[in-house]
Every structure is written in C-alpha cells, then in structure tokens.
C-alpha cells in the first residue's frame, strides 16, 4: 500500500522579534496556529491531531509545555505529540506530523514549533553549571567558529564569503514581513566592519535571539482538494542522526546530512539537486554554514560551495536562491527555526511568499539541523503532487 500524499495547505508565523512582551507563551503559539488555520480556511474542529516541537524546556522554564498548551492549540480530546531533536526540531516536528497523514492515521494535522527566548536566556539554558565539566570557554559562536576555520582550510575559501551571505540574508529579510531583523540601512561594508567576535566569525554573521512561532496545517489528498489556495506537496522527507562527537566525525560536512539529503532526493526522484531544485531554505545560524551546507546537500562539489555564494548564485534573483526569507541569520526562535525553513519552502512552491517569492519555484528544499551537527531533518516540497 502506498503512502498517502501529504499537502501543506496552511502556513502561519508570528512577527518574530527579540521579545513578545504582549502575549503569554500560549498567546504566542496561538497566533501562529490561528494564522495557519486561516490560511487553510479551517477551524479547530477540522484538526485531528497536534504535533508540537521546541528546543530545551529550560529555555522557557516549563517542563513539557505542551501539557499547558493543549487548551490554546485546541488539542483537548485529541492526540498531541511533542518532539525534541535539538536545533533540527522544527523540521523533525513537521515530519512526524506528515507521517501521521502519510500513514493515514489522521486526515488533517496541525504542526507547530516555537521558542519564547525572552522568558530566560538561551546561553543560561545551554550552559547550566554541570559539576566536574569544564565551563564552555568560548560562548555560543566559539562552538562553531573552529569548524568554519576547518572549512576555510579545506576549501580554500577567501575570508570574504561569510560577509556576502550575511549581507544577502539581511537584505532578503527586508522583503519578509515576519523576519526579526529588518536592517534597512544594511551595506556590505557595514557587515565587513562589524566586530570579529569569534574569529573567523563576525557579529553580523551571527543569528539573533527571537521570540516566535511557526505553524502548518498538513492534510491528505482529499483535504488538499478542499484547500482554498494551492497546496505544497511533500515529495520527500527524512531525518538522520549521528553521534554528537566521535572519532573521525566530519563537522564540516557531516555524513548524516549527506545521507539525509540523499534519502530525500531518492524519494523525490531528484537526480541532480543543482538542476532539479529551484531554491533552498537552509538552517544557517552562522553565515559560513551556507557554503558548507551547499556542499553537504549536494548543490556543489566538495570545496565548491563558496564559489556559488561568491558568484551570486544564491541571491534572491540567482540561479539557486538560498534563504529567501532572510534565514536563521535574520530570525532565530530556536525551536521554530527549522519549521520556518520547512514552511518557507512550502510558501515558495505555493506562490505565497510575497515579496521574497522566487518566480516559478516548483521544487524547494527545507533543511534543519541541530546538536553538534548531529541531527538533520529535511523535506522537499513541490507545486505538484507526487507521482504514484
């Protein structure tokens, strides 16, 4: 028996900001959920189940907050699942929800991911004073910067590439009303002149800390038939994990990322991702991860990712636009960041991305990763249903 095709018929986001002081945690998730339902022209009663994801519970100081959020998400009397796979969680959450539809367990599922970082402080949540352990010596970026240096050494990339990515993503964010950072006066010179925090990573090449939520309504073929706007069809989806640290781990291009992409491409019948995929929303928390992931995902040969970035291929009007929404560099409610990538990919193939729409986007990849580059989740969505 083949799987039920899965369609995205509703997408909703909050306006991501540093601190949403006007709403409770419930109010924040409700806003995204309500917008996704409105987009699909559905009501709470049309939803069969809710799948929610977020990063560590310590960020808001609420253990398993889905218990408290059941009422706000109309889940009372329904199944509710809570996913947590570190930074990839937004993507994984969507895939768990998609499986409920694909397996014909449910017809229509609401999936949502959020983080309300202003309730605490992410660095506190990430660096609890565990006894006997060496304190984190370098802050958030210190974890990533040595891997970036390793990439530069391996690929021979000039040190100008990181700034190009940041400049592009921040300009893209100006076209996305939901993006957190709207730096209207951004220039490449300003990015290049920003302080070098964790050499080789500059301040402007890092992501902000955001409050935000993202929701999607996923449904089956029949549900898609009733949808008021064009659906996005899931053509492939996969998760892959590898250990946090191990002898021989390749932090620059992790095997789990390669395997995950290969699985998605196989499902979707993608022979050459560079040719067959129109645009990518990828999880780039520090600008240098764009060229790294371009290689990891098979859009460039090893050592060649930075050349695509440098040549402008990943610009909004380029041949392979990357992070049309402004990406994680412009918006980072950690637990939701992966789902925003998935949702933005869906918006593109639905033709609903507004000012940051890529003309004629037919197949778009959504990508999320987390942990020490150990958890990956991806989906490929298309404007037309899967063939089967």
């Amino acid at each position: 028996m083949s799987k039920e095709p899965v369609a995205v018929v509703g997408v909703g986001q909050t306006k991501h900001v540093a601190a949403r002081r006007d709403v409770s945690i419930a109010g924040l998730v409700r806003e995204a959920a309500r917008r996704a339902l409105d987009d699909a022209e559905l009501t709470w009663a049309d939803i069969d189940a809710v799948v929610i994801g977020k990063a560590p519970d310590f960020f808001e100081g609420v253990m398993m907050p889905e218990l408290y959020l059941a009422d706000a998400l109309g889940a009372v009397g329904k199944p509710m699942l809570r996913v947590h796979t570190a930074g990839s969680v937004g993507g994984s959450t969507a895939l768990v929800a998609a499986n409920l539809v694909a397996a014909r367990v449910h017809g229509t599922v609401l999936t949502l991911a959020f983080e309300k970082q202003s309730e605490s402080n992410a660095m506190w949540g990430l660096s609890l004073p565990i006894p006997f352990q060496q304190p984190l010596l370098a802050g958030a970026g210190g974890f990533f910067a040595p891997h970036v240096r390793a990439y530069m050494r391996r690929s021979g990339a000039p040190d100008t590439i990181g700034s190009l990515v940041a400049y592009k993503d921040r300009r893209n964010a100006l076209k996305n009303p939901y993006a957190h950072l709207h730096e209207h006066d951004i220039t490449l010179e300003k990015v290049q002149a920003s302080p070098m925090l964790w050499d080789p990573i500059r301040y402007s090449e890092t992501c902000p800390s955001s409050d935000g939520a993202c929701a999607m309504v996923l449904t089956d073929r029949a549900g898609a038939g009733r949808a008021p706007r064009p659906p996005a069809w899931m053509l492939g989806g996969a998760m892959r994990s590898e250990p946090t640290l191990f002898a021989g781990k390749d932090f620059v291009s992790p095997q789990a990322g390669k395997d995950c992409a290969a699985d998605v491409y196989r499902q979707a019948g993608i022979a050459d991702p560079r040719r067959d995929i129109d645009a990518v929303e990828m999880y780039v928390p520090f600008s240098w991860y764009e060229p790294m992931w371009l290689e990891n995902l098979g859009f460039a040969e090893e050592g060649g990712g930075w050349k695509l970035t440098e040549a402008g291929v990943t610009e909004l009007d380029g041949d392979l636009p990357v992070n049309m929404s402004g990406g994680v560099l412009s918006t980072n409610p950690i637990g939701a960041s992966g789902m925003i990538r998935f949702a933005e990919a869906a918006l593109q193939v639905r033709g609903q991305a507004g000012e940051h729409q890529v003309d004629g986007a037919r197949r778009v990849l959504g990508h999320a990763y987390g942990g020490g580059s150990q958890f990956f989740s991806m989906w490929l969505v298309g404007a037309r249903p899967p063939q089967s």
């Binding site: 253990m63 996913v83 565990i130 250990p243 095997q255």
Partner: protein
C-alpha cells in the same frame, strides 16, 4: 488494509532508587543490547529509532543527545526523539512503520529520578502563571484527585491499600521491580494518600523493538500485534476537569479498539493507587481482567520510561503465551491529563 505491526522484543533495567554509579547512557546501553539480542538484530538492521526522555528530569539541556551514544548511530540512523514518556516514542515509531518507510524500529526511554526531587521537578509541568508558582507537588495533586474519588464514593482508604498490596505482591514475580512483597500502607504523605499509595522513586530504562508483518514473525515466535493504539489529552487546569474520571483514557481506548472484545490483561500506568481505580472504571476493566501483573508503576516508576514499560510488560506476556489480548496504558501530566492506550494480541494458539 493497514500494515500489521508488533512488539517483538522488550528489555528493561532492574529499576532502583539510585543508579549514581552510572551515567544515563551507561544505564541504558545494556537494555538496548538486551532488546537487540532477543531478535538477533544489530543497530544497522534497524529501520527507525525513536526515544523518549526529559531534560528537566536530568537537570541538563539536550540530555538525550548523549544517550544516543549507546545506540551506536554510525553509519547515521533515521532517528527521532520525543520529550515524552517512551510510550509516545513507540507511537511515533508505529506511525513510521505504518508508512512503509521502515520494517523495524528500536524504541527506548530512560529516566533517572534520583538526581532531583521528582515531586518538585514535576511542578514545572504546570501552568507557569497560576499553578507553578505555588509549587504543588505531584503527590499533592494526586491526593486532591484521590479525595475527590472518595467523596464520589468510588473508593476508600482500605480499597486503595488493597491496590498497593496486590501490586507489590505481584511484583515479587518481577525480577526488575523495585518495591515488592508486603509493604505497610504507611503514614500519610499528603492525606488521603499514604506511602503505600505512592510509587517508589526509580531510576530505570526500557527498550522495545517493533517489526512489521512477516518481519515480525521471523523475529519473534509469538509477536504481540498492535491491534490499535491511540492517545488523547485533556484540558490542563485541574479545576475544569472531573478528576474522578478519565475521558481521555476512555476515548483513546475506544479509538484503539479496546472495547471491541474483552482483554484478559491490562498493564496500567497508574503511579498512585487511586489512579488505578479511575482507570479501571474509564477503561471498563472487570474483575476478571488481570491488572498489572508486573506490579505496575507502584512497584517501579522510572519517570519517562514507566509508560513504555507497561507496553513492554503487556507484550512480554503475549510473547510468553500468558495473554492473548492485553491492554497497555501510559499517562503523562498532572492527574492523568494525557493518556495512551494500546491493544496487543497474540496469534491464536
């Protein structure tokens, strides 16, 4: 025609008050090996892996990432994690197998209650504006529920004592149980609940292997077929719920097909004696149903694993030919807010 999926292996730790000599992965790994060994599978043969655990229980963010070391996730594996009891990880794995993307799944969960004070840790599950600032601990909330049950005439203290005594007596036959044999009903912890009405504080882990169709028959002599599985959640506020009932457990059971034919066995995740009373009524379990032959959560309660253990125990009885149709239940949240029910059957003998 949906795919037939079965529990084909189950392993658990000896649950103990403390496992401070072991890290989480050191505690978990033997259980993973145990479940795999029952089937002859290796990690590389497994199609999907899913786990359940809680950062708050561990006191550390991302605690599950280190537990993955015990799996041997190399080459990379298709894997997911729920911040829930492992019973819900099993549910996620079940849906994955239903899609046909995988034929086998490894499901595990673990919980160490010894590092923190679990009564206090669980207060962080509550509404952070109106409830959590009062620090009402898990025993207090269960006691409010037990009193409501007594006021409604559904039970009394001697009846609760009998539930505890029966559970610990049955636990003597369970080598993994922590609290077994005659135990005093004891003093009040939070009245009307006495020590004997409350679960022990436990560290432990569990692992289950699922397989689909013919694969299940190859791996297990008598697979425990999942005939139905469903879970439902209720409103969060205690004051808006009827604490003497469990409509979400009943609805989950109905959706899982539990009421279509009688079950002979039920493994209920009832950490408090009073909650067994509620669940028996909600799930319409008569006196002829063998309830918690393992001793249940009253004999060992590794939080985040205790629900998965119920499914494992029910399946193991089917494997051994001691049950033909068993109900397994898991719960989460204050006063049975969220409930999962699975119905397991063996092939006719």
């Amino acid at each position: 025609m949906t795919r037939e999926i079965a529990v084909v292996a189950f392993a658990q730790t000896d649950h103990r008050r403390s496992t401070e000599e072991s890290s989480e992965v050191e505690m978990l790994m033997p259980v993973l090996h145990g479940a795999l060994a029952q089937t002859g599978l290796r990690t590389a043969d497994i199609g999907f892996t899913c786990s359940g655990s809680s950062d708050y229980l561990a006191g550390r963010a991302f605690s599950f990432t280190l537990a993955l070391d015990g799996v041997g996730a190399w080459p990379p594996v298709s894997e997911s994690h729920v911040e829930m009891d492992g019973a819900w990880a099993l549910y996620e794995a079940w849906t994955k197998l239903l899609t046909g993307d995988a034929d086998t799944a490894l499901v595990y969960s673990y919980g160490k209650c010894s590092p923190g004070s679990v009564r206090d840790v669980l207060t962080r599950q509550l509404d952070p504006y109106y409830l959590a600032p009062l620090w009402p601990d898990s025993v207090a909330l269960a006691a409010l529920q037990a009193q409501a049950l007594m006021d409604a005439g559904h039970t009394d203290e001697p009846a609760l004592a009998a539930v505890g005594a029966r559970s610990r007596a049955d636990a003597t036959a369970n080598p993994h149980a922590q609290l077994k044999g005659p135990q005093p009903h004891g003093d009040y912890v939070v009245r009307p609940l006495r020590t004997g009405d409350c679960p022990p504080v436990s560290d432990g882990a569990a692992a289950v292997i699922l397989a689909a169709g013919e694969r299940a028959r190859q791996l297990c002599e008598r697979p425990a077929w999942i005939r139905g599985i469903d879970h439902r959640i209720e409103a969060h506020g205690l004051g808006v719920r009827d604490l003497t009932d469990s409509p979400s457990a009943r609805l989950a059971a109905e959706r899982a097909g539990a009421f279509e034919r009688p079950v002979d066995t039920a493994e209920l995740h009832a950490p408090f004696t009073s909650q067994e009373v509620i669940l028996r009524r909600a799930l319409r379990l008569g006196d002829d149903v063998r309830v918690n032959p393992s001793g249940g959560a009253l004999a060992a309660n590794p939080v985040m694993a205790a629900g998965l253990v119920r499914i494992g125990e029910a399946a193991a009885r089917v494997h051994r030919g001691e049950s033909d149709r068993a109900l397994a239940h898991a719960t989460s949240g204050p006063c049975l807010q969220q409930n999962l029910v699975a119905v397991l059957e063996g092939d006719p003998r």
